[in-house]
Amino acid sequence: MRGSTFGIDGVFVENTASVVGPKESEGPLGKYFDKTVKDDLLGQKSHELAEIRFHISAIRYLLNKTSHTENDVDLCISGDLLDEITGASLTLREFDIPFMGAYNACATFAESVITASVFISSGKFSRIISSTSSHFSTAERQYRFPLELGNQRTPLSQWTVTAAGAVMLSDVPSKVAVKRATLGKVIDLGVTDANDMGACMAPAAADTIFRHFAESGLSPDYYDLIATGDLGVAGSELMKLLIKKRGLELGLNYNDCGAMIFNRVSQDVGQGGSGAACSSSVFSGYIYKKMLSGALKRVLLVPTGALCSKTSTLQGESIPGIAHAVAFEVNE
């Protein structure tokens, strides 16, 4: 291991599942998701329960797709954005699978995939599910204002993705493999605007991507796609600028999951999508399927997270960001 980038051997993506809400299904990636629902409340009494249902149905669908029973899965590493990650905890109440909760805000998906991959490559586990969920209405309530409050969204705001994405990792060889990862550091440049998540997370993303290439010795054009999690359009531009200052140029193979999932102009989502399920649903839906079809062969996924709570923001703390990078490659 050199720095915080390390190679991963013998870990493969067995399958993925994604369930998304109505707005996401109307977006440009709509047709790639496994399941789309018309009502984001799913007939539940609260949006929190609806988010849990999204998460349950993603994991259930993944089990069905791979024809595994709950006993075949050694562990589930999941997370979400609700207080004390109750979303994931209550989801796993429904399953007879050991559970470890993960939280890195919207970078939780990367944290969970990296942890699962290292566990599997240790030889002690053979099949682990990593999953995350997020819901627009629960995130609005948790971090911002009541849903029906008639306030204006700032041009920098982002739209939390209503979705759940789940990935089954295993030691049985299959087409897509997890190849390497770079662990992110908590980076705080003093941004205090909780509406400007892109600017909070851009320095962390730039740092992780820069270190990934410096430590692995690869160049950015090695990957067919470098996708950050949820920097949004303006945040991505900022990130590209920061990384350019350090002497690394990202080309047309760079994109952002938050910018990809919505049609920013017609769907009125500010700078794009965000949330713990943004990267997991885009990976499970779009990227994984593109890798299976061979359109993408090497992908670097860099989910980004803004590490704040409503309390920390109110008390005037600045908002640090974090980003972990995971590289997926198609086995030749």
Partner: protein, 151 residues
């Protein structure tokens, strides 16, 4: 904790998209004005058509009607769409206050009547009430002391 990176914060100010102040101010101006016109029309209706003779009753009735309309629009999920367009135009009038109370109440209904709905109802409107009451006490004291000067 690291010191804020001034260079980066300056870069954000320079690069990130900003609110379009004139467009939002114009929207706030005409929507806020329109809500006030509706209020004025209600006042005329109560005093001229419904023949309510006491002036205080007319203004109370107008306020109550506006609050009722807002509460209904909030419940049906329409007021937040108006607010997304109007901004301050729909926040500043009494309708904005009603919306903030009703929206918080709807949001916290699931946590029960006492600890959910009632304790969170004034989550957004709380500061308005606190400042409203405090300033009225302050003004009251001033009037009490200088009463003679005004007569």
């Amino acid at each position: 904790m690291n010191a804020p990176d001034k260079e980066y914060l300056a870069l954000i100010r320079e690069r990130m998209p900003k609110s379009r102040h004139f467009a939002t101010m114009f929207r706030a101006f005409w929507t806020g004005g329109l809500i006030c016109c509706i209020g004025e029309a209600l006042t005329l209706f109560y005093s001229e058509v419904a023949k309510v003779s006491v002036e205080d009753d007319v203004s109370s009735l107008t306020t109550i009607t506006l609050i009722l309309i807002t509460a209904i629009l909030t419940g049906f999920g329409i007021y937040d769409k108006i607010g997304a367009y109007a901004g301050a135009g729909s926040i500043v009038p009494i309708t904005g206050f009603a919306n903030s109370v009703v929206s918080s109440a709807i949001e916290h209904k699931r946590e029960g009547v006492v600890l959910g709905l009632c304790s969170n109802m004034f989550q957004v409107a709380g500061p308005v009430i606190v400042f409203g009451i405090s300033s009225s006490i302050l003004v009251g004291i001033i009037v009490l002391i200088f009463k003679g000067a005004f007569i």
